[in-house]
Point group: C2
Chain length 270, copies 2
């Protein structure tokens, strides 16, 4: 098996500089926080003042930069934004944002000419079709470094729930005649659990459920997902739409004709 040189270099670098060290190495959010009018003194950051309007203003703008992919790689949310993220995820705005994305997705889909059985729509799984909010609620809403052991224990429960706007869109697209491809960063080892969870959440009738195989181990999500889109195209599918909560679900070549970014202020996948 051959590995591209940049990947080898990147992997070696990761040994010495694991991703989670970035947040420790670079006083990134500190720079930002100091540069922004979050507080007058400083002692009113955190605790009961987290919900103050200046913190909310900052966290709103931070989320703007998360969603527009301005931040680049990040490991955890700014600690002062934990309450903001909690409120967003549990409040009406997450539902409303997701619903509007689904509306635009469906409006586009209805104009697609369907024929020949090769019209595909790709969905990511986590935070796109199913919500792991319960897991993140128990683990700081993205303020804690990703813990693979805890995450795998959660996956075993198959307890992620459907995102309501996505379930409706999924069924509408199926009715329109799209072949649904679920393309997830989860590994083949979790295929049965993922199927079970998707079924539990109300999803059925997909064309393919694609998980990371043995050869996909070292790849970034962008590389892995781009390769799978290329594979689908080589099998004759036209990828009309792609829905994901991460830019790495959507970007890279080839892209779908239209890509739809769902909100997720809790975590980032490169």
């Amino acid at each position: 098996m051959r590995f591209p040189l940049p990947l080898v270099i990147f992997s070696i670098l990761l040994i010495f500089f694991p991703l989670d060290s970035f947040s420790r190495r670079t006083p990134f959010f500190e720079i930002l926080i100091r540069s922004l009018p979050i507080s007058d003194g400083g002692e009113d950051i955190g605790g009961e003042d987290v919900g103050s309007s200046s913190t909310d203003a900052y966290c709103n703008s931070w989320m703007y930069s998360v969603e527009t992919n301005n931040i680049g790689t990040w490991a955890t949310i700014p600690i002062i934004c934990q309450s903001f993220v909690e409120d967003y995820m549990n409040g009406p705005r997450y539902l409303s944002d997701s619903k509007v994305v689904a509306s635009y997705s469906l409006a586009f889909a209805k104009d697609v000419f369907i024929g020949g059985g090769k019209d595909a729509w790709i969905f990511d799984a986590d935070e796109t079709l199913i919500s792991n909010l319960q897991y993140y609620a128990e683990n700081g809403y993205g303020s804690e470094i990703f813990n693979e052991t805890k995450w795998n224990e959660w996956v075993v429960l198959s307890a992620a729930t459907a995102l309501p706007a996505s379930l409706e869109l999924y069924n509408d697209l199926k009715s329109l005649g799209f072949k649904i491809m679920i393309l997830t960063g989860r590994g083949e080892g979790q295929r049965e659990l993922t199927q079970k969870n998707l079924n539990n959440a109300g999803y059925s009738g997909w064309e393919k459920l694609i998980l990371r195989g043995e050869g996909d181990g070292g790849k970034t999500a962008v590389m892995y997902k781009s390769e799978k889109r290329a594979m689908l195209e080589s099998e004759g599918y036209t990828i009309h739409g792609s829905s994901g909560d991460q830019w790495s679900d959507l970007s890279g070549s080839p892209t779908a004709k239209r890509s739809f970014k769902l909100p997720n202020p809790m975590y980032y996948i490169a």
Copy 2:
């Protein structure tokens, strides 16, 4: 001169289906509005009720989809969101969102190794370096179809003001040693006026000011701007960063190493 076939087909289609007809032809926002809990009855949409919390909720989510490029081509803002856009553009959130984008841009820029005089940063002009808010305030904040005559009269005034976070970033990047490229969709015919306006707003010392030339007439912004990035690379420049308020400022091949999307809920350029 040769034109690629898709462009020719697109141009012919435009004769019969001008862009602004989309908003008339497709009851797009109507579909959305009906699908969302904006009002209980219907008679409370518009007028003094525009500022109601359900309209704001919808317009917030609409703006989420604008900024994440989920909407695709659009000609005007939803009329019920005019007050929302007015409040956003004139309020603290626009400043705060822009400031956070600039902070992330500068944090990235500070980690770039500068040497050899070919380290470039690209800025778009309108709604990136300079603000045409006065023009849009007088023309419905994006609720009216673009009027080229009125726009050109505004350009003659050279009265667009600096976006404060962008002016600071611009000067910081210049100090760091970046060569600043201003890449605008304005035409060569407006070169003098654009220079004058940029100077009036406090900008100086750019490396190149690139405007649409004669050969760029029929090109989309993505095509035109991608070609200019390719040209800069062929001249030996490394494009580290690119800042723009439109996705068409940033996407297309080649891209900058990092792209930064500034907010603009008022208009869309393909």
